[in-house]
């Protein structure tokens, strides 16, 4: 039965996609009017709606008939930015060259994005999750289509002279992070009545990485003090306390060449090297919880957004940031102080997927292994259950300063039990979906 519903869903969403692209807004209005007059027109003794129905149908038939007579040859070159961001309009240019002999005018440019319809398994997950968490017939809580990639707008093309190229400004608003793939471009020509569009298409595969949504964070005094970093300046080649000279000593195997003090070697005849003070700087761990049985929910996306907000903010400070999460395997990415930039961290976060086949303990192991090198830990958690509280308790027992965020569903009334953070409650924050920006802005 579910398979049948899934087929219906695919068919209906495909039909909707086709109708929205093929019909102009006036044409869509005409379709609605045709449906209403058809329903009214069954009883021809009581109403003349059947006359309206046939008239509208006649006009539509003419409009559709005009779509058979449109042919055009063209090439396009799309100039895309490297990144886009969820919810932020992505503006770019498309150069269109008319290869035909006639000037083409009144055209609209439509992007053909890759088919965003989910597989049966993905669709089923979402439906079951909705059934579990949303009351039937509740339209208020019903969320937007979680599979829709972007909102595209038809861009108006200027007149295209024969054998010439014009630039069209296009815009779309990404709705999901990750790679947004373009399949091609369609040039649409409306009929004389302005109801129905005829299409010519050209393939133009391209992609753009859509970064997660980020929130503004106020300047935050991150927990923890500086710590000796074993890698030394090799790990932090930029600036810091690493140039503090302490003494000279004899060369030992493995000392870097640039530390050799040439003048002393000339005087003593033995290689002498300069000795510097130990390397101290701040290093934070950003722990992203990816363990959820609701992979397509807003909660996980918000967790990624919160993590991205921290990644952007902290990497503008003079510190290192380790992003720790578990995906297909356990990952640790370090950025800051010249190692990597915020955009690289965001690229990783743009591709993070929920983990459903590994236990939460794998994240715990990963974090505890890194605990010796970090000054503080920021945890972005999807729940506040026993396993997560245990992780927090273990980190606290290691004496690490913590900043814990728990992402919760909108309308969650029960206050969060502080658990292992009861001695430090101001560093445990509950972020409610829909109010996250406001709650993050209040952080001190």
């Amino acid at each position: 039965m579910l398979r049948v519903i899934y087929r219906l869903y695919r068919w209906s969403s495909g039909l909707r996609y086709w109708a929205v692209r093929r019909f102009t807004p006036v044409g869509l209005g005409l379709l609605v009017a045709i449906t209403v007059t058809m329903l009214m027109g069954f009883n021809i003794e009581e109403s003349v709606s059947y006359q309206a129905f046939m008239l509208l149908l006649g006009l539509l038939a003419v409009a559709i008939a005009f779509s058979w007579f449109f042919h055009m040859q063209f090439t396009i070159e799309r100039c895309l930015p490297r990144f886009g961001t969820v919810g932020v309009a992505l503006r770019y240019f498309v150069a269109v060259r008319n290869l035909g002999k006639q000037t083409q005018s009144g055209l609209a440019l439509l992007e053909n994005l890759a088919d965003a319809r989910p597989s049966f398994a993905e669709w089923k997950d979402v439906q079951l999750d909705d059934q579990k968490h949303i009351r039937p017939f509740s339209f208020v809580k019903r969320r937007a289509n979680p599979f829709k990639l972007a909102i595209t707008k038809a861009a108006t093309a200027p007149p295209l002279p024969s054998k010439q190229e014009v630039t069209v400004s296009a815009e779309l608003t990404p709705l999901r992070r990750g790679v947004l793939r373009f399949d091609g471009v369609t040039l649409a020509r409306p009929d004389p009545l302005g109801l129905f569009r005829s299409f010519v298409r050209t393939p133009a595969p391209q992609s753009v990485l859509i970064l997660p949504k980020r929130y503004y964070l106020p300047p935050i005094a991150m927990p923890g003090s500086m710590k000796y970093q074993q890698g030394g300046v090799a790990l932090a080649s930029n600036i810091g306390q690493s140039d503090e000279f302490v003494s000279l000593r004899e060369y030992r195997r493995g000392d870097p060449m640039r530390h050799i003090h040439w003048r002393s070697w000339a005087k003593t005849g033995k290689p002498i090297v300069k000795e510097f003070e130990d390397e101290f700087f701040v290093r934070h761990a950003l722990v992203l919880d990816t363990f959820t049985d609701r992979p397509h929910t807003e909660q996980f996306e918000e967790a990624v957004s919160v993590a991205s907000s921290f990644a952007c903010t902290i990497l503008t400070q003079e510190s290192l940031l380790d992003l720790l999460f578990v995906g297909a395997q356990a990952y640790c990415f370090t950025a800051g102080r010249g190692l990597a930039h915020a955009d690289q961290m965001l690229e990783i976060l743009a591709s993070v997927r929920p983990s459903s086949d590994k236990p939460f303990a794998s994240l715990e192991t990963l974090v505890l292994n890194h605990s010796s090198t970090v000054n503080g830990v920021i945890c972005v958690l999807l729940a506040w259950d026993e396993a997560r509280q245990q992780l927090v308790a273990k980190l606290k027992s290691l004496g690490l300063p913590l900043l814990v965020f728990v992402i919760r569903d909108a309308g969650e009334k029960n206050p969060l039990d502080h658990g292992p953070m009861r001695d430090d409650p101001e560093h445990l924050h509950s972020l409610e979906i829909g109010r996250i920006e406001e709650q993050l802005a209040r952080l001190v």
Binding site: M40, S47, Q51, M54, L55, G58
Partner: protein, 701 residues
């Protein structure tokens, strides 16, 4: 997308013309275009639009209710739920359709206030949340949860209203092709502004002409197809319809084995008027030909003659040829017209029906009277002894006897030895024959005879000699015809059960009897040979029957209400008026009151916006009155610097700066002020106002 100028007015005029409300349409058209000439605009808030929308929604609900009641919806639906069959289903469907069409016709008027508010508002659009229920719920939830509201989007409803007006214009029965041409012109006008710039106007004109031509051909084809479908004989469906009595035929239960089940449901209520005795029989139909086990009238509905009302809306329906007769009796009869059309149960000799609120009345030559109207008919029947509205006998009423029944009839008649008797004696003997030798029974046992040619009637006449009224009536009619006396088979109800001041007639009182032609009086007389014991057998009062009677009474009263036999509809209309008045008061007067209150309090704006209740505005007003008004767009801080240049205001300069900070925070800080700070803003403003007052007093001295 905005339609061309005056298109909406043209659409409203068209709607008025098509709906028979031309003056209303013209008034609406003038008013809708008045914003082009009237400069006044109102700053309707979201709440105002919401109230107007509520008003329109309530009007819609009221109109639906009114249209449903007015189109016999409750009666037809009640009939459908009580006795679901094709006829009642069609009745219910017809009511729904008529209600829907009435609604479509009224929609342009109902939603006129809303579209007018849009035209006269400063925004020239309405907030999307006003008409989007889901968005409104979401916003309310967000507000309760303290979340920031999403940005307000507005929508222009001009084109949807244009479409609504055209749909309203389509909701009337077809009377020619004017609607089609008018609609074509209006649609062309609307599409002109949306045409593609790629094509020349000639191409557009060609496309419209081809489209309209296709539409014209299409609508002609639809009309012809529907006519063809209507002309097809759909009698094969008729077996699905179970009617109480049919004017065309009456299928008897002759030959049916087992018990005949009858229902105790009350179907007619009768009250004799002027102290008269009640009529014994209420006849619904009579039949001429017996074929198989069915009596046929051999007259279909087309053979019925229309009976006119005596003067428009007098509710008096004389039944020719007795309309000039002096009536001696009268009774008030209430019966159901299931499906909006049914035969009226009338006393023998009915000559005039009064207070009968129906649409149409027809009469058959065999005395059946068919009424079309609401689901319940309550009327006064005036009747007389002697004559009836039935046509005189024809040869068929004398000779029409199925050959299969002749043997059985002759056997029975042979027992009577009626040779040489007059007609009256024959009738007397036949009546005696049935009362002496036959008994009433609703039970029929299976036949043990091996004679396959034996009919149910001959078995009744020669062997079992017991049966129900259909046996007696059928046998009597055929026996009398065998004796060369004209007779017909009549069906209807027997009136015997008194209830309160009147009588009730149940389904179990349904009866069949004989009409016999009285040669001397030249009229038809009721001739009932069923033994009187049938009444006792059929009437079996039980507790359940009492409960059923109570339910029937309640149902009857409800039907009276919903079919307009009471003054409910008028009350309903009057009940809407105070509702509208209250809403108008809410929209107009409360807003004014609020504005007045705000002005009286020194604030010229509404105070429900964050921070606009700040007392600092009083200070600003007071200082501006001293001759240093704030320029448009001038920040408060810059203006205060200018104000503070006045040496007389030395004392308030410092408190003013503190107050300004508090005011800014109160106005723009999402966190707002804590209670102490809010109080400080209020207190210090009062203090500053007092100081300024003192300074002015001193300066005046």
């Amino acid at each position: 997308m905005k339609p061309p100028p005056f298109l909406l007015a043209a659409a409203l005029l068209f709607w008025g013309w098509q709906s028979g409300l031309l003056i209303v349409g013209a008034i609406l058209a003038v008013v809708i275009e008045s914003p082009r000439f009237v400069r006044a605009r109102w700053d309707f808030s979201d709440e105002d639009f919401g109230r107007i929308w509520t008003l329109c929604s309530l009007l819609t609900l009221g109109a639906i209710l009114f249209a449903f009641v007015d189109n016999q919806g409750p009666a037809n639906f009640a009939g459908f739920f009580q006795e679901p069959n094709i006829q009642t289903q069609r009745g219910a469907g017809s009511s729904s359709a008529r209600t829907a069409f009435a609604m479509f016709r009224w929609l342009p008027i109902i939603y006129f206030p809303f579209i007018l508010a849009q035209f006269f508002s400063t925004r020239e659009a309405v907030p999307w949340k006003t008409i989007n229920f889901v968005l409104r719920r979401r916003l309310r939830k967000a507000k309760l949860a303290g979340k920031p509201p999403p940005p307000v989007t507005t929508v222009n409803l001009t084109l949807p209203y244009f479409a609504l007006t055209l749909l309203g214009a389509a909701a009337h029965p077809p009377e020619g092709i004017t609607f089609f041409w008018g609609l074509s012109v209006l649609l062309a006008g609307a599409l002109w502004s949306q045409r593609s710039v790629r094509f020349k106007p000639a191409a557009w004109v060609l496309a419209v002409i081809v489209g309209v031509a296709l539409g014209f051909l299409g609508q002609t084809g639809v009309r012809q197809a529907m006519r063809l479908a209507e002309s097809m004989n759909l009698s094969w469906l008729s077996f699905l319809v179970r009617r109480r009595f049919d004017a065309e035929q009456s299928r008897t239960a002759l030959g049916k084995i087992g018990d005949i089940k009858t229902s105790g449901q009350i179907v007619i209520r009768l009250e004799p008027l002027n102290g008269n005795a009640p009529p014994t029989y209420l006849r619904e139909a009579s039949y001429r030909t017996y074929k198989g086990v069915t009596w046929l009238a051999e007259i279909n509905e087309e053979g019925f003659v229309s009976v006119g009302e005596r003067g428009a809306n007098t509710l008096i329906w004389p039944l020719p040829p007795l309309d000039q007769e002096t009536n001696t009796h009268s009774a008030n009869i209430a019966c159901y017209l299931d499906g909006g059309k049914a035969l009226l149960p009338l006393p023998t000799g009915s000559a005039r029906l009064e207070k009968l609120n129906i649409i149409e009345l027809k009469k058959s030559p065999l005395g059946a009277v068919l009424a079309r109207g609401p689901g319940l008919a309550i009327f006064d029947a005036h009747f007389t002894d002697g004559k009836t509205i039935d046509s005189p006998p024809e040869p068929a009423d004398r000779t029409n006897i199925p050959p299969r029944e002749v043997a059985g009839l002759d056997t029975a008649l042979a027992e009577l030895r009626l040779e040489g008797n007059s007609d009256d004696e024959k009738l007397h003997n036949v009546a005696g024959f049935f009362s002496d030798k036959f008994s009433y029974s609703t039970w029929q046992s299976p036949s043990k005879s091996s004679d396959t040619n034996e009919t149910a009637l001959s078995r009744f006449l020669t062997k079992t000699r017991k049966g129900h009224c259909e046996y007696f009536a059928t046998a009597t009619v055929l026996m009398l015809r065998r004796l060369n006396i004209p007779a017909r088979y009549a069906v209807g109800f027997y009136v015997h059960e008194s209830s309160g001041g009147g009588y009730v007639v149940r389904m179990s009182d349904a009866h069949a009897w004989t009409l016999v032609w009285d040669e001397q009086a030249q009229t038809w007389r009721d001739f009932d040979t069923t033994p009187p014991s049938w009444i006792q057998i059929e009437s079996k009062p039980t507790i359940l029957r009492w409960l059923s009677d109570v339910k029937s009474r309640v149902f009857f009263e409800i039907r009276k209400l919903i079919t307009g036999q009471t003054k409910l509809r008028q009350y309903l209309l009057w009940a809407i008026v105070p509702g509208l008045a209250i809403l108008t008061y809410q929209i107009v007067f409360r807003r004014r009151k609020k504005q007045r209150g705000a002005i009286a309090g020194g604030l010229n704006e509404f105070t429900d916006w964050p921070g606009l209740d700040s007392e600092f505005y009083l200070l600003e007003k007071r200082l501006a009155e001293r001759g240093v008004p704030r320029e448009p767009g001038e920040p408060l801080s810059a203006w205060l610097e200018r104000v503070a240049c006045d040496s007389t205001l030395e004392d308030v300069r410092e408190p003013l700066e503190v107050l300004l900070q508090l005011h800014y925070r109160h106005r723009f800080d999402p966190q707002g002020l804590v209670a102490e700070e809010r109080e400080a803003l209020r207190r210090n403003t009062t203090m500053c106002l007092e100081r300024i007052g003192r300074v002015e007093t001193q300066a005046a001295r």
